[in-house]
């Protein structure tokens, strides 16, 4: 289901729904009127694309030339590859079997041109049409098989030309005059008379370097050395372009077809080869399941998946300028070593609740956020906030007077100055039960120490016996 032209519409239906008469494009309201219990899922086009890309990745094993045709089609150029699988039929069977096992429903066909293959896959599942036989094979298919635009398709239907054969029997100039050369080309393409190269998928890295080995390599030393030399090549390319990598991927192609990919991310654009190599090494060392070289790798590839401009910097003379950078490198190293989820930094969080006003998140992703603070006046929130507010016994005037005296950690404090209350109500929608509001006071005791404590519960409105807590200390 997705929002199309301001109405929620079905974008896809499963077999059961289709049998009950639902179809894509139907407004959700209509579908619901028919089936109130209908289960719908919001369409997630990026996820669909991602899944298709995953399948395409997986298809890499059959041919390097895989093109994604969203929403639901893959084109594989199997020229010269079929024999590796024992011919076209075994290859098709294998693809079908393996994908079916993974739970995908598919229709597949092999033909001499992409357009013909598309037509057969849609309208004659499992067809394997040898080159030259397309024209005869495609003729009985409905013209929809040509994948023309809706208007043209409709025009043919209206003219009584309802199969590909009927259309292709018309004179070419007759067709060109009405539908343009493009349509005629599409027809010829589908008939196997014209060729159009498929455009392979582009997961191609922005920059990449690779090393092929005549003999599969096994030893770790060689792998490291290779990585280092690849890093140097990559680095020099990046330098020429004035760019650095934010994400790098090393792919290890095993001789038996398995591919391992290892990705590292950096918090700033990077191109120093030794750092690259070091980060990969950290990562490789940290792998819970070390790479199994098996019979060895015959190809190692290093690519900068995401590159961005990096400002050329003169290495500064004062250490301060490098401080930030050093921290970043440290963060990268630690993250590569221990995982990015374990190196954390505090970020401000948009809420009134004091203990939730900040969150810890992976330092690599942390923004250099500015903490909101009043410079002119004393800070409203203490620098030190207790992880858990500590109960305090306090004497205060009802309903909302400040504490006059309180006992905390067995010591008695006499309040000299107090300001408040700052009343903070809890986020009611997060809690099961009613949460009492807090009245915070900033107080100073007779020794000049400043505390932040609160009364829990508004007197009479929420409770008759408010409790007191110490929540933090000002420096």
């Amino acid at each position: 289901m997705a929002k199309v032209e301001n109405a929620l519409r079905l974008t896809a239906v499963d077999r059961k729904a289709a049998m009950l008469g639902l179809e894509p494009g139907m407004p959700l309201a209509n579908a619901r009127a028919m089936l109130p219990a209908l289960k719908v899922v919001t369409a997630d086009e990026p996820a669909d694309r991602k899944l298709l890309a995953h399948i395409a990745d997986w298809c890499d094993r059959f041919t390097p030339f895989v093109a994604c045709e969203p929403p639901d089609m893959l084109l594989l150029d199997v020229t010269g590859a079929a024999h590796l699988f024992g011919g076209e039929k075994p290859m098709l069977d294998q693809i079908r079997e393996k994908l079916s096992k993974q739970g995908f429903a598919l229709r597949a066909a092999i033909a001499g041109t992409a357009a013909a293959a598309r037509a057969f896959a849609h309208y004659k599942d499992g067809a394997i049409v040898p080159p030259g036989a397309e024209e005869a094979a495609i003729a009985p298919l409905p013209i929809e098989a040509l994948n023309l635009d809706a208007i043209t398709t409709h025009a043919f239907r209206r003219a009584g030309l309802k199969t590909v054969g009927q259309v292709s029997a018309r004179a070419r100039n007759e067709l060109t005059a009405r539908f343009g050369a493009r349509m005629v080309f599409a027809l010829d393409h589908a008939l196997g008379k014209a060729e159009k190269p498929i455009s392979p998928r582009i997961p191609l890295p922005d920059y990449m370097a690779e090393h092929r080995f005549a003999e599969p390599i096994v030893t770790e030393d060689v792998i490291r050395a290779t990585l280092h030399s690849l890093a140097e090549i990559l680095s020099s390319v990046l330098e020429q372009r004035g760019e650095g990598a934010r994400r790098l991927e090393a792919s290890f192609f095993r001789a038996d077809g398995a591919v391992y990919r290892i990705t590292i991310e950096t918090s700033s654009a990077l191109r120093a080869p030794n750092i690259i190599e070091r980060l990969f090494r950290e990562k490789l060392d940290a792998l819970a399941d070390p790479l199994d070289p098996g019979f060895g790798y015959d190809l190692i590839r290093l690519g900068a998946i995401r590159a961005e401009r990096c400002a050329e910097q003169v290495i500064g003379f004062d250490a301060d300028a490098n401080e930030e950078k050093e921290i970043r490198f440290l963060v990268d190293r630690l993250a590569a070593r221990f995982g990015s989820n374990r190196i954390l930094a505090f970020q401000p969080n948009d809420t009134h609740i004091p203990e939730a006003a900040f969150v810890a998140m992976p330092a690599q992703y942390a923004q250099n956020a500015k903490w909101e603070c009043d410079t002119k006046e004393a800070p409203r929130r203490p620098l030190r906030l207790f992880a858990r507010p500590e109960p305090v016994q306090a004497v205060a005037a009802v309903p909302e007077g400040p504490p006059l005296r309180f006992r905390w950690r067995r010591a008695l404090h006499d309040v000299v100055l107090a300001e408040g209350p700052e009343r903070i109500a809890m986020e009611w929608w997060r809690h099961q039960d009613l949460q009492a509001s807090r009245d915070y006071f900033r107080v100073e005791d007779s020794q000049g120490k400043r505390f932040w404590l609160y009364r829990e519960g508004i007197y009479e409105r929420e409770t008759l016996a408010p409790r007191w807590f110490m929540h933090g200390m000002f420096a």
Partner: protein, 1093 residues
């Protein structure tokens, strides 16, 4: 005890900011003993009348209402609460807001400080600074850059400070500027207060206490958070500091406020002094009628009397019937007493304009109770035919101005409206507003979003709610959506949604309620532009306008009037018969014969399924029967189960008796007067009201309250007390409980759609006129009906089919004969044929039609000829060809289409277009396959939504015959009780009221069949009922004594795929894929059915 007045109240008319109704504030203020409340919504006065009305109804000591607005500026000036001190200043405030509205898009109001300075005379101004912390930021700098009007300000002043601003403002408005401050529990409240005190002292401005209130009680904090999220388009989890930190911005008692401001008691005292300075109240809005319609040298009353007697002479000739004369004298006297003659004159003025432009119009509603309206020609209900109850229309006790609604032709109403603007000016005439409120669906959807529910869950949550009204969401309705009402999240959503229901969401223009004044209207209420160009509407809705006793005329649109006028025009041109609404011959028996046979497609009001079923049963033979016919098939009588008793009595099966109280409580025939006309069964709205008075001893005022509660009961929910009073009252006086309950149910049913007798009579008049035309001029009627589309119940296909069944020849659209509109053509035998116009073709534009006509000359000979001479774009030619409109040139649709596609595209440069020449070489092409008839029909349906060739079902007849399926005609002739199958295209689906019964009309090549599906079955076959275009129904034939035949469904099958198969080639064995992307035109094999809920 300290006295306090809250001056900064934001109600929910500051949309999505305030979280309480104005009424709630009024009540809460009284309870906590506030001296006054100031309603100050964001740049609007929309909520003040609500508060005013609520306070009127309160008893005991009540707070004074201060009417004001919170001026929110677009230039960064801090918010200012503006309260007019007197009537003149109020007018200026209205002008100020109108100015801001005119500047902005609909619903917005853009104000600059300069506007305030222009209109500030007499306004008391409370500057509401943002918190000092925020203020230190950008805000003031922006204000300063824009404050050009403060010429004397040192431009260089980096005024990140409020002081110079206050100084300047108080120099401009001396003694009328205050600094508002509040104690929001921010922790540093006292520090801030001291700062404000200092600033106030330095700038010589007085400090005044407020609580900057957003809701009337702290419990509303949750709803306040929810509306904030709706406004900011965020979920609660993401809202963060956009929400208030606590629940303190509620209406506080004087004690609480005094405690909060104990360091500044003078700020509290100042609120009382402030309130005392305000001498304006809404009572002072003296409404006055426009005086345009009154000629110089005479009074309104005299002029009205003159017009009334002149009109009477015209209606009745020299001898005015005694009854009419008496009525007129009585009415005119009452009008004179109430001084409402100008109102009648104004409406008459509008109606006369329409009449002068030959625009049909007719008054409806209770105005039809007035003989004066009749003789003025405003209404069409003849007092000699119907007993008029003028008291129903104008009553001295009610003290309300009368309400006249007039219907105009829907296509020409705009002319009337523009004339009103022209005559009275935009500053004196404007539409009333309609307050669009949250309803169950919208409330749940929005609240669900705020809680992070997906649209799917919210859709499920409201799936149990029928229609858009209905009171709060109940547990059972939630369960219907397969959700657990005790799940906390769901419960919270439901709670918030239930609270949000009835909250105003935005203001919209009323469909036609005009307010006209003699003085400037924009000094009575702010006026703003509507989305529609050249439309303006005020900020108050009709209840507000009523509450203030302002005059309102409803200028409504009615499709049937358009149809009738078009039919009159055609009759004049083609048959030489001049005719108008008044001159249609009365009581023509053949018209009643036709109606008795339920031959009523296209006839006003009685063409619906329910009405068509009723016609043979009621068998109308005179005008008053039509009045009853119109009134009886309404939710009121149906819900009150009054229909069958009436029919039984009418047909003589049941004796006419009058329900009676026990003897000690009153005479047995006390209801005779009330119910005599309708054989002892209450059918009309006023009968039900009268019943409440006579049988349940309501006072007139209570009955009126009941009526009003009904009209709005879903908003308020005071209905239960009335129920108790009515049913209890009647039972106590000895009436049967069952009868009392039914009466109440009926009144409930009237609530939203009640017809008083006078209104039914007005409509019955149109029923009769349209039936008369249909009977005597079927071709003109069908033609007019098609040209007036969209209107009525039936699609063009049914109208055309009906016309053909009445022996009207219908001719296909043709480039050589058609016009944009459908037209009539003379046949050689003298009869008239209906020629379909280009407007019937989907997607064809009126401009194309004009070009085609302009270049047509004698005729077009070839497709090229059309292309060359009419210079239509290729797309238009393709549409024409698809619609088979070249029949006079070639009969071969495919050949034409194929040829049209060959024409050059439209991108020829103008230079070349001027010398458009045939550049293409002639081509010889092989013949295209012959188009089968079924495909022709399908193509007709796609392009025209109808086919003159055949009915689709015809092609499936063999198939269905083999399945032993009967045709609709056979069903119609089948005896009672027979079990049968019937299949047809779904024409309409109706689910009247909330009974759960679904009526389906099926159509095939023979006739139509009426299918009834009982609620139990509706659930079982819901998918088929709601989704199918072609239905196969198995059921039992039910034939009533009057010959009304229904097929009561037992099993239902969706056979839509048969239609899809039709569109495939017969010999095509390629698989068809339902899910293949298809052109929208292809998807709609047959036009969608028309559904009515």
């Amino acid at each position: 005890m300290s006295a306090y007045a809250e001056l900064a109240i934001t109600t929910n008319y500051s949309f999505l900011r305030g979280a309480s109704h104005p009424q709630e504030f009024a009540l809460a203020a009284q309870l906590s003993g506030l001296k006054a409340i100031g309603i100050a919504d964001r740049n609007t006065l929309a909520g003040v009348v609500r508060a005013y009305s609520a306070l009127q109804e309160l008893e005991g000591e009540k707070p004074k209402l201060l009417v004001g607005a919170r001026l929110v500026f677009a230039d960064g000036t801090p918010d200012i609460l503006a309260y007019p001190a007197d009537r003149a200043a109020y007018g200026r405030l209205c002008r100020l807001l109108s100015k801001g509205k005119a500047r902005a898009a609909k619903g917005e109001c853009i104000l600059y400080l300069s506007d305030l300075l222009e209109w500030q005379q007499g306004l008391l101004l409370i500057v509401m600074p943002p918190s000092p912390r925020i203020m230190a930021d950008e805000i003031f700098k922006k204000a300063w850059n824009n404050a050009a009007s403060f010429a004397e300000l040192e431009t260089g002043a980096k005024a990140a400070d409020i002081e110079p601003f206050l100084k300047q403002l108080s120099q401009t408005a001396p003694g009328r500027v205050w600094l508002g401050c509040s104690m929001p529990y921010r922790g540093d409240d006292k520090r801030c207060l001291r700062k404000w005190q200092r600033i106030a002292r330095k700038t010589n401005v007085l400090l005044i206490a407020t609580n900057d209130v957003l809701y009337h009680s702290p419990e509303r904090r949750e709803l306040q958070d929810v509306v904030t999220c709706i406004r900011e388009h965020v979920t609660l989890n993401d809202a963060g500091k956009r929400l208030e930190a606590n629940a303190e911005r509620h209406l506080k008692s004087p004690e609480e406020m005094a405690e909060l401001f104990r360091d500044a008691p003078q700020a509290i005292a100042e609120t009382i002094r402030f309130a005392d300075r305000i001498g304006f109240s809404l009572d002072q809005l003296k409404y006055n009628y426009p005086d345009e319609p009154v000629p110089k040298g005479t009074t309104a009353q005299a002029h009205l009397e003159y017009l009334a007697w002149a009109g009477a002479a015209e209606r009745y000739g020299d001898v005015i019937p005694h009854k009419v004369r008496a009525l007129l004298e009585k009415e005119l006297a009452l009008i004179g007493k109430m001084e409402i003659a100008p109102y009648f004159l104004t409406v008459n003025d509008i109606v006369s304009f329409a009449r002068s432009k030959n625009i049909l119009c007719q008054g409806r509603g209770s105005a039809a109770n007035s003989a004066v309206c009749y003789v003025l020609g405003i209404t069409a209900v003849d007092p000699t035919e119907i007993d008029l109850l003028f008291e129903r229309f104008v009553s001295q006790e009610r003290k309300e101005p009368p309400d006249i609604d007039v219907d105009f032709e829907h296509e020409r109403r705009e002319e009337v409206i523009q004339n009103i603007y022209e005559r009275y000016g935009h500053h004196r005439a404007a539409l009333t507003a309609t307050v669009i409120c949250y309803r169950p669906r919208s409330a749940v959807r929005e609240v669900g979003k705020v809680f992070g529910l997906t649209e799917d869950v919210t859709a499920a949550l409201v799936s149990g709610v029928w229609g858009s009204w209905g009171s709060k969401l109940s547990e059972s309705e939630i369960r219907q959506g397969k959700l657990d009402p005790f799940n906390q999240l769901i419960a919270r959503v439901v709670k918030a949604a239930n609270e949000l229901m009835g909250f105003p969401r935005h203001l919209s223009q009323h469909v036609g309620g005009f307010v006209l004044t003699r003085d400037r209207l924009d000094e009575i209420v702010p006026i703003g532009p509507a989305t529609m160009e050249d439309r303006y509407f005020i900020e108050w809705d009709k209840d507000d306008v009523d509450a203030l006793g302002m005059m309102k005329v409803d200028v409504l649109a009615l499709g049937m009037l358009t149809c009738i006028r078009k039919a009159f025009d055609l009759m004049r041109v083609h048959s030489g018969v001049p005719m108008d609404l008044a001159s249609v011959p009365r009581e023509d028996p053949v018209v009643y014969d036709m109606l008795c046979k339920a031959d009523a497609i296209g006839v006003f009001q009685v063409e619906s399924r329910a009405q068509m079923n009723m016609l043979p049963r009621l068998a109308p033979r005179k005008f008053y029967d039509l009045v009853i016919e119109v009134a009886i098939v309404r939710p009121g009588p149906i819900q009150g189960d009054m229909v069958h008793p009436y029919l039984r009595r009418r047909s003589g099966i049941e004796k006419v008796v009058y329900p009676s109280p026990s003897p000690q409580h009153g005479p047995a025939n006390e209801l005779r007067d009330v119910l005599q006309k309708t054989m002892g069964v209450p059918l009309f709205q006023e009968q039900a009201m009268k019943l409440a008075i006579v049988a349940a001893k309501f006072t007139a005022e209570e009955a009126n309250g009941l009526r009003r509660a009904m009209a709005t009961f879903r908003n308020v929910g005071t209905i239960d007390s009335f129920r108790e009073k009515l049913v209890g009252g009647m039972v106590a006086r000895g009436y049967e409980r069952d009868f009392a309950e039914r009466c109440f149910k009926q009144i409930e049913g009237f609530g939203s759609y009640g017809f008083p007798e006078s209104h039914a009579a007005s409509f019955a008049h149109l029923v009769y006129v349209s039936a008369w035309i249909k009977k005597h001029y079927p071709a003109a009627f069908a033609c007019a009906l098609l040209n007036a589309q969209p209107m009525g119940f039936y699609a063009p296909a049914e109208i055309v089919r009906d016309a053909r069944e009445h022996d009207v020849e219908v001719r296909h659209v043709d480039v050589n004969f058609s016009h944009w509109d459908n037209t009539l053509e003379s046949r050689s035998d003298g009869a008239l044929a209906l020629r379909l116009g280009f407007r019937q073709i989907d997607g064809f534009s009126e401009n194309w039609a004009a070009a085609l006509l302009a270049a047509r000359g004698n005729r077009y000979d070839a497709v090229d000829d059309v292309a060359r001479r009419a210079r239509l774009p290729k797309r238009a030619l393709i549409i024409l060809a698809e619609a088979d409109s070249f029949q006079s040139i070639s009969m071969d649709r495919r050949e034409i289409l194929w040829a049209v596609r060959r024409l050059a595209d439209d991108d020829a440069l103008p230079l070349f277009a001027a010398q458009y020449v045939e550049e293409q070489l002639p081509e010889t092409i092989a013949a295209l396959p012959v188009m089968p008839l079924s495909e022709h029909v399908l193509a007709d349906y796609r392009m025209l939504r109808l086919s003159l060739r055949a009915h689709l079902m015809q092609f499936l007849r063999d198939l269905f015959r083999s399945e032993n399926v009967k045709s609709c005609e056979e069903i119609g002739n089948a005896p009672d009780g027979v079990r049968a199958f019937c299949a047809g295209i779904v024409l309409t689906r109706q689910m009247p009221g909330d009974a759960g019964v679904v009526f389906i009309t099926l159509s095939d090549e023979t006739s139509v069949a009426n299918v009834v599906v009982w609620p139990r079955l509706v659930e079982t076959f819901r998918r088929e009922i709601m989704g199918a275009r072609l239905l196969l129904v198995e059921g039992k034939v039910q034939r009533s004594p009057e010959g009304v035949v229904h097929l009561v469904a037992e099993r239902i099958f969706d056979r839509t795929e048969e239609l899809e198969r039709l569109s495939e080639d017969h010999n095509n064995d390629a698989p068809s894929f339902r899910s293949q992307a298809r052109h929208p035109r292809n998807v709609r094999v047959v036009p969608k059915s028309r559904d009515f809920h």
